[in-house]
Structure formats: structure tokens, C-alpha cells
């Protein structure tokens, strides 16, 4: 779909306009929080002195965030990590989550309750039929200092369930790949899957789970080899993410691993897109009729995704056109005024459920793709 083909109903256009107004209002409020001496974080208050404008008076809308330099995730390496905690949250229990770190200093993000709030919002998007309240969950993803691990556990608890987890160290996985120890990699994968199979076959009444695509694939295979399946183990709802997600993999997952769409196979799978900086973007329902196209929509106004041109990161591409993904995080815990993600994709139009821009066809940014290790676990 080119920009010229893009049309939305009057109703959606009105919804989009309302959403934009809410975003503008939320932006101004968030900027005030982070740049006020009473509530802001030491990092941003120090940064304020370097800016050639006054965020407290010159940011009047979301578009004004373009006045900030792009957020550099390198700023997140090393301490003191307290410099990221807004004074307004200074006395609250604080988590630190890490990303990367196979070699060298990982990037750290501090969180107070953001991961809970993001996943509570996400919870509202899950269909009750396949993610029944009170169900127990399996978290088949990375453990350690990861936001995902605690967020999924909170999601389970928020929905009245208990979350079972496995031990999985993604940094070791990356090391195995870099060393070329593929036999070890295979054994480690088996070790992780064995833990999951044990949970699923131990009578814990697990109905819902998170899994990365590769681990979900391996789990399905392991269960098949044991003469059973995800369905037979009682799984009805899966949310998947954490690594690259392609329409082809989704087709394979739905049609072969899960035995068809939810109404036929009995298992509902929803892709998600996110990272430690932004949180979690939900996907528009994925269907065979739409060639398993995956379109993500950020939890606006707490986070925003844009698809921008490759040569001007302040310029959005037209609907259906390809560009690099740009993220914004606008919570009272964390402020990211435009971060250039290592992904590219196509800009998606607003629709009823998410009346703001989305992004589809997310894949590694072509200029960085060869240097990126994706989907390692």
C-alpha cells in the first residue's frame, strides 16, 4: 500500500486525531517530569545544560521531541545507574535490567514499575478464551537480569496465575555461537527445552506461555518426538517475541506447529515486538488471508514507534513505505526522545484498535544486518 492508497474511515481519522492530542499532552507532561529539578533524573538534568533549548518551555507537542538529539544507547553502559532514576521515584524499590553484555559492559535500564504497567496493558489485549484468568504460565525465555523474565511473571500474576521459569543464559548462547561450538549449542538448547517439557508434563496445569520463536519451535519438536504436543500438554495461549519474527515463521508456527489457526488448532499465538528500552508492542491479529503479515503497534502514549527515512531520521516515510524504526519512550520512569532501533520495516496506518502508526515487516536494518546476531535463543 502506498501513501496514495492510504485511506481510513472518518471514525478512525477522528480516533487518530484524539490519540494524537493525548500524545501531545502526555509528551509535555513527561518532559516536564524529567526536566524539573524536583522530579527529573540526574542524567537528564545534566543533559539539559547541553541543550540549546529549554525543554520545560519549548516542548509543546510530540513533534517538538525532534529538538532533542537522538538517544544513544551507549549512554546506558556503566554506572552509576542511579543517575537514571528520576528524583520523583528516588525512594521506590528499583530494578535494573540489562541488554547485551556477552562481552564488555552491558546496557542497563532502571525500572520501578514500568514493566508491570506495560504488561498490564498488554494483558488487556489477550483473548480470555485462550489466555484464561487464573491459568498458570511457562516463561520459556531468557533468565537473569532481563526485563522479560520478570515482566512475564508479573503478567501471569496479574492474571491470577503462577509463572514457571527455566534457566537460560543468552550470553552463553551468544558465546557458543561465536566460538562455533554448535554441538554445545544444541546441547544447551536441549537442556532448556528439557526444563520446559518437565514443567509442562508435571501436572502444573500450565495453559499459557511466553516463548521466543526458536524455543517455541524446539519445544514443539521435542514434544512431537515424545509423541505429544503443545495442545495435549494443555497450552491454549502463547505470546512470542524477543527475537526476529517473520511471516514465514509465523505461517510455519500456525499451520504446522499449532495445527492451524486458533479456532482449528485450539492454540492462539500472538507475536510481539519490544525491547528493554521501549517495552512491548502488540501485533494486529495475524491471519493467513493477510499472508501472515505482522504489524506492531506501540503502547501509545507510553511509547511510540515511527518509521523514518534512511537519510533523514526526522522524516517519516509514507504509509506502506520502508524505513528505519525509531522508538520513543515516554513514561515517568524513563525518557527516550527518539532512539534509532537496529531494525527496519514498513509504516502501517492506524486502525480502530490502535489509532496510531504501526510498523510491519520488522527485520534487521540492512546497513547493520551483517554485523547483527539475531534470534540466538
Amino acid at each position: 500500500m502506498s501513501t496514495a492508497d492510504y485511506t481510513v474511515s472518518e471514525e478512525v481519522a477522528q480516533q487518530a486525531s484524539d490519540a494524537r492530542a493525548r500524545l501531545d499532552e502526555h509528551t509535555v507532561k513527561t518532559v516536564h517530569w524529567h526536566f524539573s529539578e524536583e522530579t527529573g533524573s540526574p542524567f537528564w538534568l545534566e543533559k539539559k545544560a547541553e541543550l540549546n533549548f529549554n525543554p520545560l518551555t519549548d516542548v509543546k507537542s510530540f513533534d517538538d521531541l525532534k529538538k532533542f538529539p537522538h538517544f544513544e544507547d551507549e549512554w546506558l553502559r556503566g554506572g552509576p545507574v542511579r543517575r537514571w532514576v528520576p528524583k520523583g521515584h528516588a525512594n521506590k524499590p528499583t530494578y535494573v535490567f540489562e541488554t547485551g553484555g556477552t562481552t564488555g559492559i552491558p546496557k542497563s535500564r532502571v525500572v520501578v514499575e514500568d514493566h508491570w504497567k506495560d504488561y498490564e496493558l498488554f494483558s488487556d489485549t489477550l483473548p480470555e478464551k485462550y489466555f484464561p484468568q487464573g491459568s498458570n504460565w511457562l516463561m520459556l525465555g531468557p533468565s537473569g537480569p532481563r526485563r522479560l523474565r520478570l515482566a512475564v511473571e508479573h503478567l501471569a500474576q496479574y492474571r491470577g496465575g503462577i509463572c514457571f521459569c527455566i534457566d537460560l543464559d543468552p550470553r552463553w548462547v551468544v558465546k557458543l555461537i561465536k566460538k562455533g561450538w554448535m554441538d554445545h549449542l544444541e546441547e544447551y538448547k536441549k537442556h532448556c527445552i528439557d526444563q520446559a517439557v518437565t514443567v509442562l508434563t508435571a501436572g502444573h496445569d500450565v495453559k499459557c506461555m511466553f516463548a521466543t520463536p526458536k524455543l517455541l519451535e524446539s519445544l514443539g519438536e521435542a514434544l512431537d518426538e515424545r509423541g505429544t504436543s503443545l495442545q495435549e500438554c494443555g497450552i491454549t495461549g502463547i505470546f512470542s517475541g524477543g527475537t526476529e519474527f517473520t511471516p514465514q515463521w509465523t505461517k510455519f508456527c500456525v499451520e504446522e506447529l499449532l495445527g492451524g489457526p486458533a479456532e482449528e488448532g485450539g492454540v492462539y499465538m500472538t507475536p510481539t515486538y519490544g525491547n528493554t528500552l521501549m517495552g512491548l508492542a502488540c501485533s494486529k491479529p495475524v491471519t493467513a488471508a493477510d499472508n501472515y503479515k505482522i504489524s506492531y503497534f506501540a503502547p501509545q502514549p507510553r511509547a511510540v514507534t515511527e518509521v523514518v527515512t534512511f537519510d533523514d531520521y526526522d522524516q517519516k516515510v509514507g504509509y506502506g513505505e520502508t524505513g528505519r524504526v525509531k522508538l520513543y519512550t515516554l513514561t515517568d520512569e524513563f525518557f527516550v526522545p527518539g532512539f534509532m532501533e537496529r531494525d527496519e520495516g514498513e509504516r502501517e496506518a492506524p486502525f480502530e484498535t490502535y489509532p496510531w502508526d504501526g510498523v510491519s515487516g520488522v527485520r534487521p536494518f540492512h546497513e547493520l544486518a551483517s554485523a547483527t546476531t539475531v534470534g540466538v535463543y
Binding site: 519438536e221 512431537d224 518426538e225 515463521w249
Partner: protein, 496 residues
């Protein structure tokens, strides 16, 4: 002078008739949503799009691999041999259904040349080689099995003819293969699996999907059950799944790839050959008699094969030998791929040519190493989408020089000065070793050397293989295990 004729626009056949190649899952085409373009090596124009699958699909299919063998076991081995012979004719001469198109032989050759950078006449000769092997598959199997009745492989045991039961137990229902990008000649290695009633799970090379697709089409057209074939284009994920999910697989790659699988009985890894010609002291003074043999061994197939000669070892006259070869091949220049005189294949990834050339420069920096082709112009020819390396002959005054153990993907040979009594101790791994001598002592020693895989005694170019002999291990021993199978009559029941 470097000819630029082939920088002209690509013939419209490549663009207008772009083929879509879909994965094949035990004979059934699969509609993938993930496509990769196969592009023309020199223009970057897409000439085909290939649907990819991931490891998950491969894994699921491999759990049904037994059905591929069961489908083949419906036919006798002799019947399959006859069908293979028909497939050989079809492969080499018929219009065949390939992907969503009907493909003529000429189109196959154009397409293969366009994506691999190999001159068209070399594509034709590789095609002929594959067809030849399949046409003579009965003789080849007869030699590889040492004359065993092929039904022994179907049943798992049988009478050898000396009153002794022999048993060959199949070790796998299918042979997996991760095929190379740019070497259309290697496909002969997996072809015998079909008459041995072993199915095929192939990951075609990203730039050379043509031979596996056309060959499978020929097999099916010849009446071999489609259920015996899986074609799984894709990335490392698909290749990795083939390697881990099939009990027997082959892979083509670099020396590192070979090292990675060394000692793994499930994997046959094919890499650089380091093939050589050793000239004995008894004939070295007549070296000029063998010049054509040496040139052919180095230059054929653009020096890309593991059976191309990368080292010529002699105790004397080495500088003269190197100069004479340089005189013959140093002038070889880049020609359009359709030119019947084209001798050079393009590097479809220019960085690979640059990297290779940098390694050669490093070799040449060592004292005692001399570029004998230095007077024949620039070696690295760079284009927008590809690059070439023109032939090089280097002289090494001792086997201690690093270059004595090098092999590169273009016509490159080091002529190494080495006393005869040191040669076999120093040559290292050698896929094809041609030994020019009548000295019984050297012949015996060469025959005993475990470093040489295929030994040629006498004036046989390294690239000329006798297909009736095993290559890098006997495929029979890889796919089947010879074991004991004892049979005794059951006692007659008392009540009978």
C-alpha cells in the same frame, strides 16, 4: 586488455522469464512467504526468486524421512538404475519443469552462468559430467559395491556368491546435503543415493539452485517417486537442521568447515582438495613433455575445483616449469561468460576476490617466493558487482614456504622445489595426487601415502576422474554398514 562486452545489458530472458523456485517437501511444492533473489553476477539484476524455509520445517519433514526410503523401496534397485539413466538423458537434453517455469538446456546454462559467474561452456561441461555419472550409474555402483547384487542393499542381506551371507544395513533413510554456492560439478557425489534407495534432503546453494532443482525434476520425470526428494532453500538454520536431523549428510565448504566435522561419522565434509602433481627425478628433466597436463590441471574449470592442481612438486627445474606454465596461463584474461574461450569464473562476492588477493600478497612477501606471472598484468579485476582474479603461478624454493600449502578459488599454483625423498613427507593432505614417475620405489611410496586420497600414477591430469572409483570415501560405506548377519534354521516343532 580486459574486454567489457559483457557489461552490456542482460538478455531479457533473465528478467522477463524470472523463475520462482519453491521448496519441495517430499515431492510437494511449498508456498513460502520468504523469498531471496538470485541475481546476475555482473549486473545485480534478479534472475530468480527462491522461497526459503527455516529449520523448523526441515525438522518436521525429517521426522517423515523414512517415507522417502519406503517410496524408493517400492522399486527394485535395477529399475531405479534404469530410471536414473532416463533422468540423465532428460537432465542433459529435455525441457524440464523447474520451479514455475519450463526450462530448456540453454536456459539452464544461461541461468547457471549468470548466477555463479562460471563461463557457459564450463556450465555445459559440468552438466555433461553430472549426466555422465548418472548414465553410467550401473557401472559406478558395480564398482563401488565391488560387484554386489544391489538387492542385498534393499533387503539388508544376501548371498554374495561364495556361500557367505553378506549384510549391508542402511544407516539412514535419506542423505542430507548442504550444497555449495558456486561449484556445479560437485553434484555427482549425491546422485548415487537414489538407486541405492536412499532419499535426498538437499539445501541448494543460494547462487546455484539450478542443478539440484533441474536434477530432481529429471528424476521425477523419469518416474522416480517425488516423495524421495526434499529441496530446502534457506539460511544457516535450514542447513543446520539438515545436518543435525539426517543421520548421514554431506557438506561443502572451507577448510574450517571440514575441520569442524572431522571425525564425525554422520557427516562427509568436502572442502579444499590441495591436489598436486609430483614429478619424479627420473622424468623431471623431460618436464616439457608434461606441460599440457600441468596447465590443464591448474586451469580447468577456472581453478575452482578441489581436483584442480594447486601444487607442483619437483626436485629441480622448478623455476623453468613455473615460467613455462606462467607463459601459458598468465595471459588468460576476463572474457564474457558466453565466449567459448572464456577461462575465468567471476567471484560473485567482490570482497572474496579482494580478500583472496590480499592473502596471495602475503604469500608473496615471504622470502623464497616469486610471482612468475608478474609480467602478465594486473591480477585483480574489479567490477561493480563482481571481481576476477587472473591466473597466477608462483615459485617456492622450498616446501617450508607458506604458499606451498595454499589453495585458492582461481587458477593458482605453486611450483615447489623439494627433494624427491622429502616430497611425500611434506605434501600434506592431497585429494588428487598425480605422480609422474616410473620409479617403482616412488610409486610404492605414493601408493602407501595416507595423505593422498586419489592417486594417479602416470600422466593423468588431476581434474580427470575415473568415476568408477570412490571419491573422498566410498558412498556405500557412508550410507550402509557392513555387518554380520547369521541365519540358522529353526528346529522343527515337536508336534509337527
Amino acid at each position: 586488455m580486459i574486454l567489457l562486452a559483457f557489461l552490456l545489458p542482460v538478455p531479457s530472458v533473465f528478467i522477463a522469464d524470472m523463475i520462482t523456485l519453491s521448496p519441495l517437501r517430499w515431492g510437494k511444492p511449498y508456498e513460502s512467504l520468504d523469498f531471496t533473489d538470485v541475481v546476475h553476477f555482473d549486473t545485480g539484476e534478479p534472475i530468480a526468486r527462491v522461497g526459503n524455509v527455516g529449520g523448523g520445517i526441515v525438522g518436521r519433514d525429517m521426522r517423515k524421512a523414512h517415507k522417502a526410503r519406503e517410496a524408493l523401496l517400492q522399486f527394485s534397485a535395477e529399475d531405479l538404475v534404469e530410471r536414473c539413466k532416463r533422468a540423465a538423458v532428460l537432465f542433459e537434453s529435455a525441457d524440464l519443469s523447474v520451479g514455475d517455469s519450463l526450462q530448456s538446456v540453454d536456459q539452464f546454462v544461461h541461468q547457471q552462468s549468470a548466477s555463479t559467474g562460471l563461463p557457459e561452456h564450463m556450465c555445459r561441461s559440468n552438466m555433461a559430467k553430472n549426466s555422465f555419472v548418472l548414465s553410467n550409474i550401473d557401472q559406478i555402483l558395480n564398482c563401488l559395491t565391488r560387484g554386489l547384487d544391489l538387492s542385498i542393499f534393499s533387503r539388508g542381506y544376501g548371498e554374495e556368491g561364495r556361500g557367505v551371507i553378506v549384510s549391508y544395513q542402511s544407516q539412514t533413510p535419506v542423505l542430507g546435503a548442504v550444497l555449495p554456492n558456486n561449484s556445479p560439478g560437485v553434484h555427482t557425489l549425491w546422485l548415487p543415493a537414489i538407486p541405492l534407495q536412499v532419499g535426498l534432503a538437499l539445501k541448494p546453494g543460494s547462487q546455484e539452485p539450478w542443478t539440484p532443482y533441474r536434477m530432481v525434476s529429471a528424476f521425477i520425470e523419469a518416474g522416480i517417486p517425488a516423495e524421495a526428494f526434499g529441496l530446502y532453500p534457506g539460511g544457516h538454520d535450514a542447513g543446520g537442521a539438515i545436518m543435525t536431523k539426517t543421520p548421514r549428510s554431506m557438506i561443502f565448504g572451507s577448510a574450517q568447515t571440514v575441520a569442524q566435522h572431522e571425525g564425525n561419522p554422520r557427516v562427509q565434509a568436502h572442502g579444499p582438495g590441495f591436489s598436486k602433481v609430483l614429478i619424479g627425478d627420473d622424468v623431471v628433466d623431460d618436464w616439457e613433455n608434461y606441460l599440457d597436463l600441468l596447465v590443464e590441471s591448474v586451469l580447468s574449470n577456472s581453478g575452482r575445483s578441489c581436483i584442480n592442481c594447486s601444487g607442483i612438486w619437483a626436485s629441480r627445474h622448478t623455476r623453468e616449469i613455473a615460467a613455462a606454465i606462467a607463459e601459458k596461463i598468465g595471459t588468460v584474461d576476463v572474457l564474457p561468460p558466453s565466449d567459448p574461450d572464456a577461462q575465468l569464473a567471476a567471484f560473485t562476492v567482490p570482497a572474496m576476490a579482494n580478500g583472496t588477493y590480499a592473502m596471495v600478497q602475503q604469500d608473496l612477501a615471504e622470502s623464497g617466493v616469486e610471482d612468475m606471472t608478474a609480467d602478465f598484468g594486473e591480477k585483480l579485476v574489479e567490477r561493480e558487482h563482481c571481481a576476477y582474479l587472473r591466473p597466477m603461478v608462483v615459485h617456492a624454493d622450498s616446501p617450508d614456504r607458506q604458499v606451498a600449502s595454499k589453495e585458492y578459488m582461481f587458477p593458482f599454483v605453486s611450483v615447489v622445489e623439494c627433494p624427491q625423498d622429502q616430497m611425500l613427507k611434506r605434501i600434506g593432505s592431497t585429494l588428487v595426487g598425480t605422480v609422474l614417475t616410473q620409479d617403482p620405489k616412488l610409486i610404492h611410496a605414493a601408493g602407501s601415502s595416507v595423505d593422498i586420497d586419489r592417486v594417479n600414477i602416470g600422466p593423468i591430469p588431476t581434474n580427470r576422474l575415473n568415476w568408477l572409483q570412490p571419491h573422498e570415501g566410498n558412498l556405500i560405506d557412508f550410507l550402509y554398514r557392513s555387518r554380520a548377519y547369521q541365519v540358522a534354521d529353526m528346529p522343527v516343532p515337536a508336534h509337527a
